[in-house]
Each structure stands twice: as C-alpha cells, then as structure tokens.
Symmetry: C2
Subunit: 268 residues, 2 copies
C-alpha cells in the first residue's frame, strides 16, 4: 500500500512529459513502446515461445521514424496515415519472414512477434498521435486521467465496498463494486478536468470519462489474461510495487486509442 | 500435369474480373479474402488451435465496407487511409477480446485470428487498393502476371533444368534453376505487357517484374511454411490439381502489396 503510493509519485515526471508534448513526448512514448514490447516478449519465455526482440525494437523505431518523415520532422503537424499502412505491412511481412528458419522456429514465434508489435508498440503510439492532433491535443490528459483514475478509484472502491466478484477466472481480486467505482471515478475526474481546462469540451469529456472507465478495465484484464497464460504474476520489477511498464501502462494501452479514435471519428 | 493445365484455364474468368475492375473486382476480392482466411484458420485444426471464423469473416466484411464508406460509395476514387487505421485497431482489439473466455481459449487462438486477418484479408485487399489508384490501376495486371508467370516458368525451368535444391527444408521440390527461371519469366512477361499496354511505364514494369519474380516465391514459401507446420499438404481441394484458394493465391498475397507499395512510394 505504502509502496504503491510512493511509486505512484514516481509517475509525476509523466506530468511534465505530457505538458511539454512534442519531441519530449515522442521520445518518451518510443521508450515506453520498446520497454513494453520487451516485457511482453520476455513473458513468453516460460511458454517456450521465442519472438524476435530485434524485430520488435526495430518495428518500434521504424514506426516513430516514419512518423517524423510523415510530418516533415516538425512534430505537432498532422500525420499522413499512408505511412502507417506501410508500417503495418512491413510488420506482417517481417514477422512472416522470421519463420523462414523453419527448423528453429515455431509458428508461435512469428505470431507473438506480430502481436507484440501491434498490442504494445502500435497501441502506445496513439499517445503520440493524439499529441499531433493540434486542435484537440489537450485531450491527451484524459488518456492518463481515465486510466489511472479508474485504477485508483476501483482499488479503493473495491477495498471498502467490494462484495461480488467481477471475473474470478481472469482476475480473482476484482469486484463489481470496484469496477463501478472505477467508472464513476474516471467520469468525475474527467468532468473536473473539463471544468478547469476545457470547458467547451465538457460533454465530450464526460463521454470519454465513461468510456475510459470501461475500456481501461478491459486493458487491465487483457494484460491479466496474458500474464495468467504465461504463468507470471508481473511483467517486470521496474517500478517498486507496480511491476513493469506493462503492468502500469496496461490500461493506457487501451485508453490511448480510445481517445484518439474518439477525436478522429467524432470531433474532427 | 493435365489437370494443372485444365485447372489453369478455370482461372480465365479472373481476366474478366480484372478487366472490369470496380465493383466486380471489389466483390471478387472480398470473396477471395473470406475463402483464404477460412482455409487458413481450418489449417490450424490439426494443431488444436481454434481461431474465430466469425471474427475473420466479420473483419473482411468490415474492411471492404469501410472501403466503400471511405470512397463515398463510388469505387475507383482514392482511399482515405484513415479508415484502414481504424480497421487495424478494431482487428487487434477484437482478437484480444476473443481471449476473454479464458478457460476455453488459448493465446494462440487469438493470435492466429489476428495473423489470418492481416496475412489473408489485408494482403489480398491490396488488389482492390490498386484498382482504386486511378492513374496507375493498369498495373494491377502485373500482380497476376508476375505471380502466375513466376509460378509457371519456375515449374518448367525446374522440371527441365533443376539440379540444385533451393531450400529443401521448406519445399523439397524447388530448385535454384527453377527459381531463376521464374524470375526471368516474370521479367520477360512484364516487359511484354509493358510493350503492348503501358509503354510509358516500361522501366517501372521491368523493376516490378524482377521484384515480383522474387517476392512471389517468398509468398509461395510462406504458405509452404504454414502448411508444413500445420501438417497438411494443401489448404483445400477447391480447384482440381491446384488445391485451395490459398494454394493458388499464395503468391498473389505477396505480389499485390508489392505492386501497391511500388505505386504508392515510387510512382505517386
């Protein structure tokens, strides 16, 4: 409990990263993507599946490099999505070619390589994409407010009120009361954010708050499923009491795309 | 041998489909994508991996539907790539959510679902994308000329001259002589095509011919790797002497994207 709070404070530099945006956020996001895919691949060791870390890291670097090319080196401009398609294709092809050493490699090795590129690298990349949506980049805060807000509120609501199990097979400690508390907390925090920083977007912030409360729990549960199947408790030991990057950012992996597609499809 | 030639003639309707393009090609390509993903998923039965066919087919239908939305129902217009990103994200998310029935499903079930969506559906979709590139849609012919040209020329060169094995572990019958013959055949056929139909693109056709000769063999070998690991000889029995759609179109899955990205990155 105490370690959790202390470690939570270690996340404060994140505030600065989001505040500055641009190059700082771009570089931070790239590092998160690489660490996430590294932890994800490592988790499969126990299952005797060997994804390619060079492809994972190379894919992350290529994605962020293409992003620079696409906006002509000036971060903050809108992305030309053409490059993303090229990146997608490259990831699939390289993961398939990885199987060509047919005697050394299982099909799973290639498929986990591919899944990691999309689940860890592509999903976390949406944070950079939001930062580059000039008109609405302020909403990037909601990625983290909904993810961490849900997490903290669900934890306290669950500890104090939790009675009915949510999905004992995936995550035995979670309760329905905690889940509802998480969604409420995410919504209230998003409203507070809107009232102070983005009053004209209040309605959208409420919707994002509710969606974020739900979706961040799906992100959490998805990470739990992988960990259960891998037979590990945590992805890593990077942050004391919080596990690895993937343990801390599992919800952000889902709320990032949610905010991005909300802006792309509803607001733009 | 005789069956092969007869079955080859069954492919003639394909000429009409490419000639008409537009809606005809769009619908044909969708059907190919669905059949390919169906055969691909079925191949994993022997490995006791159960990907989700509803997600595979639903993903294919969604992709082609989004394509219609993106060009406002008027096929032939250029695509707004934004929709492709949304589709990519949707595929990853749904494949992950498929794992939520944690007791019934293995991680492999979700990962094969995802791989099939990208390898079978997304790759074959590039044919429709080329058809929609108004200025260069004529080059769609090279997708098939290089794929089938390589296949046929490699076969005859291999039968008559083949001595040195190409990659016995993946595909024991292939020879280096056949492989070179395939590349030469693909190049010559592409030159003939350019001289008759697209003289102003002759240089590009030569490059595409060489690349197509190489890449279509990678497509062929990729399909062989999957079949070997799955423990099957053919993906299906649809076309007599030619196996299933995936056996016949394995090279097209690779030459389609090659031609598309060549146009996108070099010609446009």
């Amino acid at each position: 409990m105490k370690t959790r709070i202390i470690a939570g404070c270690c996340m404060l530099p994140l505030l600065l990263v989001i505040y500055f945006g641009g190059w700082v956020l771009w570089a931070f996001d790239l590092v998160i993507g690489i660490m996430a895919v590294y932890e994800f691949y490592r988790g499969f060791r126990e299952m005797d599946i060997k994804p390619s870390l060079p492809i994972g890291i190379g894919g992350a670097v290529l994605l962020y490099a293409l992003n620079l090319v696409a906006c002509g080196g000036r971060l903050g401009d809108e992305l030309d999505y053409k490059w993303l398609i090229v990146w997608f294709f490259a990831c699939v092809i390289v993961s398939l070619l990885y199987l060509f050493r047919i005697e050394e490699r299982k099909l799973e090795d290639g498929m986990v390589t591919l899944t990691g590129l999309f689940y860890c690298v592509f999903f976390s990349f949406h944070i950079t994409l939001i930062d580059q949506m000039t008109d609405y980049s302020i909403l990037i805060w909601l990625v983290f407010i909904t993810a961490f807000g849900t997490d903290v509120c669900a934890y306290f609501a669950g500890v104090t009120l939790g009675k009915h199990k949510l999905c004992p097979k995936i995550s035995p400690k979670k309760s329905i009361e905690g889940s509802v508390g998480g969604i409420l907390g995410s919504t209230v925090l998003s409203i507070v954010f809107a009232c102070i920083f983005a009053e004209e977007l209040l309605v959208h912030c409420i919707v994002i708050g509710v969606l974020g409360g739900v979706i961040s729990q799906f992100g959490d549960l998805t990470a739990s499923i992988f960990k259960r199947k891998m037979g590990i408790k945590d992805y890593g030991k990077l942050i004391p009491g919080h596990g690895g990057i993937m343990d801390r950012f599992d919800s952000v992996l889902f709320t990032g795309p949610m905010v991005f597609y909300y802006i792309l499809l509803v607001l733009e």
